[in-house]
């Protein structure tokens, strides 16, 4: 071999993957060291979306902070709102009316569907399957219309409140959700037809980005990524919260822990979420959605404007230093968000503002395994692996 050729053959190439690469979905950046097309070393860099959410938690009161939780996982803000208020309610020792719990479950599961649909669409698009992307987004649009009608916003939902939700479901909600639920299985079937036995899809995803169950636990993976590695664990089953024990559903588990299994697990989770929503809709109890306590829940507008009592209650909740004040102490509360275990660790000093809020983001631990999964693989596998992990930059960097 020519001397120059020999030198080139041993030389590694550095490739900057992101932060603006279309397959990085947000601002992720990985510096890849390549030998030909093989990834020798991968170094993720993060912090591009660091916004100081945990610091903000020490300065905003408990209800104000709900707005911040929207911005963490911007693909499923409703799940974040839900997880956060459950933590505060645990600190307060509040019991939410059954209807409120069911409404929250319905919204959280619809939000899981929306999250998985974006993951499906984007993940498939990254690997060149454009149709699945359009099918996924078409369905997601229907969900976002429902979210918009319920919460007033498509993305910054801020739907939950400490002690309940912003408002009850609107008239006609049930029909719209039922229409979605009956049309959705058809789309899911179409996507299965497009991808599941597709030669190209299988070649790109099978035995790519493999992680064993033991490693997945050691790396702290949770949610669909953990279950795809064969560990059957779902917080909705293991530690049921907000009436999840009332619903009958299966936990999807994979075998090989590769991209293909993570795809199958999420596809099955969408089916199960539909089951849960249907059960919750069929058995939706009557009654209030908020805690009937004037020191926690805002009074209705007509009371706030029309009665001195209502006005005082409104004032006391809204004004700085008067609002929701949990006792001293510390709690950790976790929920099964679409991406995995979303935990909130709150230290309260007894005032209306948390002394410390720590968010345990599933995305941070999911992103950490990227080098483990792609080192030794090909450059094109990076796209498949990143897509399958569904790392959300807003939650990753907080």
């Amino acid at each position: 071999m020519h001397a120059d050729m020999e030198r080139v053959a041993g030389e590694k190439m550095m490739l900057n993957f992101g932060p603006q690469h279309p397959a990085t979905h947000g601002t992720l950046r990985i510096v890849l060291e390549l030998d030909g097309e093989t990834v020798v070393k991968a170094t993720p860099h993060l912090g591009y979306l660091h916004t100081g959410f945990e610091k903000l938690g020490e300065h905003l009161d408990y209800n104000q902070y709900i707005v911040v939780t929207d911005r963490m996982n911007y693909l499923s803000p409703l799940s974040n709102n839900f997880g956060y208020v459950l933590a505060v309610e645990k600190l307060l020792g509040l019991e939410i009316p059954k209807r409120g719990e069911y409404v929250r479950v319905i919204m959280a599961e619809l939000s899981r569907l929306a999250d998985h649909l974006i993951w499906l669409g984007m993940g498939a698009l990254d690997l060149g399957a454009f149709t699945a992307f359009l099918y996924g987004f078409k369905e997601r649009e229907k969900l976002y219309n429902i979210f918009e009608k319920t919460t007033g916003a498509r993305l910054t939902t801020s739907y939950t409140r400490v002690g309940g939700v912003l408002r009850d479901l609107y008239d006609g909600f049930e029909e719209e959700v039922n229409a979605f639920l009956s049309a959705f299985p058809k789309t899911l079937k179409e996507v299965h037809t497009l991808l599941t036995r597709n030669r190209i899809w299988m070649d790109r995803t099978k035995e790519v980005g493999v992680i064993s169950g033991e490693d997945a636990i050691s790396y702290g993976l949770t949610g669909p990524c953990l279950r795809a590695s064969g560990v059957e664990h779902d917080l909705r089953k293991a530690e049921p919260y907000s009436s999840y024990e009332d619903f009958d559903f299966d936990v999807a588990v994979g075998d090989n822990g590769d991209v293909y299994d993570r795809y199958l697990v999420r596809m099955e989770e969408m089916v199960q979420s539909c089951h849960i929503v249907r059960q919750a809709m069929d058995n939706l109890p009557e009654g209030p959605v908020n805690v009937p306590d004037n020191k926690i829940s805002l009074p209705e507008k007509k009371d706030a404007y029309g009665h001195i009592e209502g006005l005082i209650h409104h004032f006391k909740i809204i004004m700085d230093g008067h609002g929701v004040q949990p006792p001293r102490g510390e709690i950790y509360s976790a929920t099964e968000s679409p991406n995995g275990e979303l935990g909130f660790y709150i230290v309260s000093d007894g005032s209306g503002t948390a002394y410390r809020i720590r968010i345990r983001p599933p995305s941070l631990l999911q992103y950490q395994v990227v080098p483990h999964m792609i080192e030794g693989g090909m450059v094109s596998d990076v796209v498949a692996v990143l897509g399958s992990l569904n790392v959300i930059a807003g939650e990753l960097d907080r």
Partner: protein
């Protein structure tokens, strides 16, 4: 026995994990408590690694999942400060057992003059980034950590944002941020 016994439980019966840990590490355990249905264990900084190792490897307890590592700056909470000999920080580990489904919180008080804890990366691979974040946000170092660098803030950032003495709006970094140097 020791004074810990008085404040172990509200129900009168001490949880198994507390019994086991007390048996193994008499001096290493500073406090055991059960609040809001959550178990919490305060360990001495020097023995927290051994206690975590024991909790993970003990066949009966088997806390095999490290949920989270974080820290709290207690400099504005007088009673906690006095209780733990004016240790400003508390490193907090959250554990979960896939076998028993139990959760446990382990905390270790850290003094400002000895701002370090032994890393748990040898026990859980996932601890690496969690500990880097604690270092980045509080300045607490982890001994023998394979790659202890800032993770969210830029490498040349000065100060530790989640400390209580760091102002919410920063110390003017936004005005003086040098884009050209960052991109070089």
């Amino acid at each position: 026995m020791s004074e810990e016994e008085n404040d172990t439980t509200s129900s009168g019966k001490s949880p198994v994990v507390f019994e086991r840990v007390k048996e193994q590490f008499q001096d290493g355990v500073l406090d055991l408590s059960e609040e809001f249905d959550e178990l919490s264990l305060v360990a001495h900084r020097d023995s927290v690694y051994e206690i975590l190792e024991f909790l993970k490897n003990d066949a009966k307890l088997s806390y095999d999942f490290l949920v989270d590592v974080t820290a709290v700056d207690y400099s504005q909470m007088e009673d906690v400060l006095t209780k733990y000999d004016y240790a400003r920080f508390m490193v907090v580990y959250h554990l979960y057992s896939y076998k028993t489904g139990d959760r446990l919180r382990v905390k270790a008080p850290v003094h400002e003059k000895e701002l370090s804890v032994r890393t748990v990366t040898s026990l859980w691979k996932g601890a690496a980034w969690l500990e880097r974040e604690v270092y980045d946000m509080f300045g607490i170092t982890f001994e023998n950590h394979p790659n202890l660098r800032r993770i969210l803030m830029p490498d040349d950032f000065e100060g530790y944002p989640l400390c209580k003495d760091y102002p919410l709006r920063g110390r003017g970094e936004r005005e003086t941020f040098d884009f050209e140097r960052q991109n070089a």
